[in-house]
Symmetry: C2
Subunit: 81 residues, 2 copies
């Protein structure tokens, strides 16, 4: 069966995010006064063929551990549609 999944990779708390800081500064410069913090992450929309949802979830978790996320500094979440 065809599985559509979304994997979201975000920086762990406490890891510096200079890109987010830059965006936050740019938003303030554009006049958005209320912005407290911005943290940027990645999202992967993946279509894969799998026997069932369980095996798809196992595959997606393995993909995150091996390629999509750097688990030293990043967290990931797998969401199957």
């Amino acid at each position: 069966m065809l599985i559509r999944a979304r994997v979201t990779v975000t920086l762990k708390n406490g890891v510096l995010d200079p890109q987010g800081k830059a965006i936050s500064g740019s938003l303030a410069a554009l006049g958005f006064a209320g912005v407290d913090s911005v943290r940027q992450g990645k999202v992967f929309d993946i279509e894969l063929n799998a026997v069932d949802k369980q095996s798809a979830e196992a595959d997606l978790t393995a993909m995150c551990d091996k390629l999509l996320a750097n688990t030293v500094i990043e967290d990931y979440a797998v969401e199957i549609a």
Copy 2:
């Protein structure tokens, strides 16, 4: 009030995603045989102060239009926690 929001920016359908294609190729090389397609997007976790959720949503939409997304080739979704 402090509003926590997540903005997801993804490429519109039909827009080429060479980065996604490269990830898809790498996953195949790692032995994940079932991967059909990968498309990469961005996610922004934003904390902002706003009077209420409605004004926060208006602000976030304006941020997307002005800075966070390139609306010619990207779609965005705003989600308030």
